[in-house]
Symmetry: C2
Subunit: 301 residues, 2 copies
C-alpha cells in the first residue's frame, strides 16, 4: 500500500523566539511526507517553480517517498511564505505570501499513481482538490484539509469536496468557522452532516479531537518543552495519521485513535527544530519508542 | 481515611449562555466535597455568616461529608460572588465580590479533625493556609491551590506555604504568573523547585498536566457538549483528585494519574448544571462508569 499526498512545496522564512531560517524547505506535502513515510510508502504530487533549488530535489534521500509526481514548472516561481511566531508560538503571523506556481493550474497525477487507495488532499482550492481526486481510479480512504480563505470565499465548492471525502483534518478555528458552532464536538457533528465519516479537529498544543457518528475521542498533544518552530506540526500530524491508516488499511474507531497517536508523535518531532531539521533525521525506531511512551502515559488504571 | 478540606462556602449568582442562578450555593469547599465524597469521607472546615440560609445547612444530606468544622459566625455575612460566562465560557467575568466573613479571621479546625492525614488547602491567604495546616498533628498528603491576587501581593507568604505542601493544583494562568515561564512544563518544574513534590496544572477544557521530578503526564478533559456552567469545575477536579489519593493512601506517579482521571470525571459532572445541580445528585456508580469509559477512550494500541 502507499499513501498519495497532494499539497504544497515551498520556501519558508520563519522566525520564532528560538531563532530563524531563510528560504528553508517547507510546504504541507514535505512535512506530511516525512511523517507518513515512517508508516507507509508515500507518493507525492506537487508543483514547484523553475527557481526551486537543486539541493532540495533529493531531500527525501533513501526514504520511501516517490517524487514521480513532483513537477518543476518552467517559467514559474516556487511558493514562498514568510512568518513569525511569538510568545507561546500558538499562532503564526504571516508576513508575506508569494503564491507563485500555486496560483496557476494544478499538477497532474502521474499514471503510476492513479491507482492509489489512500489519499490526502492538503489545503488548496476545493475545486482543485476535486480535480486531483477525479484522476484516481480507486480511492478508498480520502481525507482533506482546508483553510479559512476557502471557507469564506468558496463555501459551495468546499461543500462539494466535503461530500466526496472519507474524513477531514481541520484545526479548531477552521472547524468553528465552517460550522458556526463554538463547541468543537458540535462542530465535528456538523461536519459529519456535510458528508465526511469522521472529523479530526486539531487544537495545537492542546491535542486533537476525533468525532465519528458513534464516538468522541480526545487525545492530548505530546507534552514537551522542546519546541523551536511549530511550522508543519499540523501537516506532520496528518502525515503520521494517514501513513498509519494506510498501513492498517481501515478506519474503524480503534484504528483512527491509534492513527491520531502516531500523528501526535510525528508532529512532536517536527516542532523540535526549524523546517525539516528534526523530522528528516528522526529514525522510525525513535518514533515507535515515543508512540509506546505516549500510549503508556495515557494508560490509566 | 478521610480528606480534610479548608475552603470557602458562598452564595453564587452566575449567568451563562444557558441560563442563570441567584444566590445559589457555591464555594470551593462545597464543590470539592461533593466530588471527593465519591471516593473517601470528607471533613469540611469553612466559615459562613449569620445570613447563611438554613436550607443550605443540610445540602450534603446522607453523603459522607462531616460538617463539624462549619462555623456559622454571628454578626458576619456570607461570602458572595456574582459572575458571568460568555461565548466559549472559558473564563469567568467577575461582576461583584463581597468577601464578608472571608475577610475576617479563619475558621478553627475542630479537635475531631486535627489528626487528618490528607489535606486540601483551597485558595485563601497563604498565611491562613499555613495557620490551618499548623493545627494538624499528622498531615501526610497536603495539596494547596492559590490565586493571582496572592501571587501578586503575597509572594513571600505564598512561597513559605509552597515549602510545606506535598503538591499544588493551579491553573495555567496562575502557574505562568507564579513562575514567569510560558511553557507549562517549565512552569511545573519551576514550581517543584519551590518545594512541592508534584504540580497539577489545570487547562480548563483542554485538560490537565502533571509534573513530577520524573514524569510529565498530559490528560485531556472529558470531551462533552453538555456544559451549562463551568463554576466549580476546578474545585470538583481537586475534590475527585484528593478523594482518590486519600482512598489509595499514596501519591506515586500511577496513583496521581488515576487521581487526575477521577478529578477530570467529577469536574465533567459539575459543569452539566448550575451550582451543585448535577454534582449533588450524580451517583457514585455513574462516576465510576464514566471513569471506565474515559480510561477506555485513552487506551491506545
Amino acid at each position: 500500500m502507499s499513501v498519495l499526498v497532494t499539497g504544497s512545496i515551498g520556501l519558508d522564512s520563519v522566525e520564532t523566539p528560538h531563532g530563524k531560517v531563510e528560504d528553508a524547505i517547507g510546504g504541507t506535502a514535505v512535512h506530511f511526507s516525512f511523517a507518513a513515510a515512517h508508516f507507509s510508502p508515500v507518493r507525492l504530487v506537487a508543483v514547484v517553480g523553475e527557481d526551486f533549488p537543486d539541493k532540495f530535489k533529493k531531500i527525501f534521500g533513501s526514504k520511501p517517498v516517490d517524487t514521480t509526481g513532483l513537477e518543476v514548472r518552467k517559467g514559474s516561481e516556487t511558493f514562498r511564505w514568510r512568518a513569525r511566531f511569538e510568545g507561546d508560538m500558538n499562532e503564526a503571523e504571516t508576513l508575506e505570501t508569494q503564491l507563485g506556481v500555486l496560483g496557476e493550474y494544478g499538477p497532474k497525477v502521474p499514471s503510476e499513481f492513479t491507482g492509489s487507495e489512500t489519499v490526502f488532499l492538503a489545503n488548496t482550492h476545493p475545486a482543485l482538490q476535486r480535480e486531483l481526486l477525479s484522476q484516481l481510479t480507486n480511492p478508498r480512504i480520502v481525507v482533506c484539509d482546508t483553510m479559512n480563505l476557502w471557507i469564506e470565499t468558496e463555501r459551495d465548492a468546499l461543500l462539494e469536496t466535503l461530500g466526496l471525502v472519507t474524513g477531514v483534518i481541520l484545526n479548531d478555528a477552521e472547524s468553528r468557522q465552517l460550522t458556526e458552532k463554538q463547541n468543537l464536538i458540535e462542530a465535528g457533528e456538523a461536519i459529519l452532516r456535510m458528508g465526511p465519516k469522521f472529523a479530526i479537529i486539531k487544537k495545537g498544543e492542546h491535542g486533537a479531537l476525533l468525532i465519528t457518528p458513534d464516538a468522541v475521542v480526545a487525545i492530548p498533544a505530546y507534552p514537551t518543552k522542546n519546541v523551536k518552530d511549530p511550522t508543519g506540526a499540523g501537516d506532520s500530524f496528518a502525515g503520521g495519521f494517514m501513513g498509519y491508516l494506510d498501513r492498517v488499511g481501515k478506519w474503524d474507531e480503534s484504528t483512527l485513535k491509534s492513527a491520531m497517536v502516531r500523528g501526535t508523535v510525528t508532529a512532536s518531532f517536527a516542532i523540535e527544530d526549524f523546517s525539516i531539521g528534526r523530522s528528516s533525521v528522526v529514525e522510525t525506531e525513535e518514533v515507535e519508542k515515543r508512540v509506546k511512551q505516549f500510549a503508556a502515559m495515557l494508560r490509566v488504571e
